[in-house]
Symmetry: C2
Subunit: 199 residues, 2 copies
């Protein structure tokens, strides 16, 4: 097996995009290296050359998701309120325009349900969760500094927001309710009537 550094960024990007498509199409339980290969211009043996197990590939895929999330969240130019609303929208409705968020979130939740049994996956999900938590808390801190938000505990509010979004995604895929819209509306009310400072 070759180390991460030895495969080109292009190869990695290609494999990660194929993994995304394969996950949306087949879910995680039915995912195989062959199905990922089918979505790429690589052979199954070439995938195995870069990643010795499906688990290793998936761990890198979860890491890749975080990088994509960071890239989208980087522009610091918007004000804290717009950044917070943008983050909530992206997490509920998807990062990319051509993405089917329900299929993708179904695969992510399937993956999360395996995390108790697969330490490397749980560790990487923990890193992503921590980082998204940190980004939300940072936006809230900025909002407090700029006197847009009330003086709340940023960690407590970040925990509420990230959990609400995760729960909304879970309820969206597992019920007939329009839970994403419901949660978006609830978070709007929460932000407007609790978080925003009256002027």
């Amino acid at each position: 097996m070759v180390s991460k550094e030895e495969k080109s960024e292009e190869t990695r990007q290609e494999i990660m995009e194929a993994t995304f498509r394969a996950l949306c199409k087949h879910g995680y339980a039915n995912l195989t290296m062959q199905k990922i290969a089918n979505e790429s211009n690589k052979s199954k043996s070439s995938l195995h050359y870069h990643y010795d197990t499906k688990e290793n590939l998936i761990v890198e895929f979860i890491e890749y998701l975080l990088e994509g999330f960071r890239e989208v969240m980087v522009p610091n130019k918007e004000n804290p309120l717009d950044r917070l609303n943008g983050l909530i929208d992206r997490m509920l409705y998807g990062l990319e325009e051509n993405e089917d968020p329900e299929k993708f979130h179904t695969a992510l939740i399937e993956l999360s349900s395996q995390a108790p049994y697969q330490k490397s996956i749980r560790d990487q999900i923990s890193i992503n969760d921590n980082e998204i938590h940190r980004i939300i808390a940072e936006i809230i801190e900025e909002g407090i500094d700029e006197e847009v938000f009330r003086e709340v505990d940023p960690d407590v509010v970040a925990s509420l927001i990230i959990s609400t979004i995760d729960g909304g995604r879970l309820r969206q895929i597992s019920t007939n309710q329009e839970a994403s819209d419901e949660v978006r509306h609830s978070l709007d009310q929460f932000i407007n009537s609790y978080l925003l400072l009256d002027h």
Copy 2:
């Protein structure tokens, strides 16, 4: 196959408790009628006599969970604040004392991740979700009537609370974070600094 009405309440209770134990032990993906039978005093063929498929049995199990939840939530004597806090605790930390909430929530989330593919399971999860939503909204309405809570929109706050709990459970099982405690603390802050009326 015999209709629901024809099997005794005792038989049903026995099968449902066995299903609960088997789910906690093996998860949903690996659950079989044989494994449920192993947890009960019934044979596999006796289980099949009462439920023609695993899916039918699981749908009734999800219904049974809701009944248990309703029974626990029935005592209306407590004040709305205590009832709301009791409900949050039970959803985050389990209904029964001898229950391992993480194992049980792992199985529930595995089950939820299959809901997009299995309509009967999704329909029953939707009924449970709606009913829990309704119970929370009702507690909030009572609190508003009794001038304990501020005049919020009960549906909006119920949606926020149920989603936060669901997301907290998901994060608890899929990360190394103590997400249940984190969410319990965030909801405390939310209730104290937003929902409770200042007196």
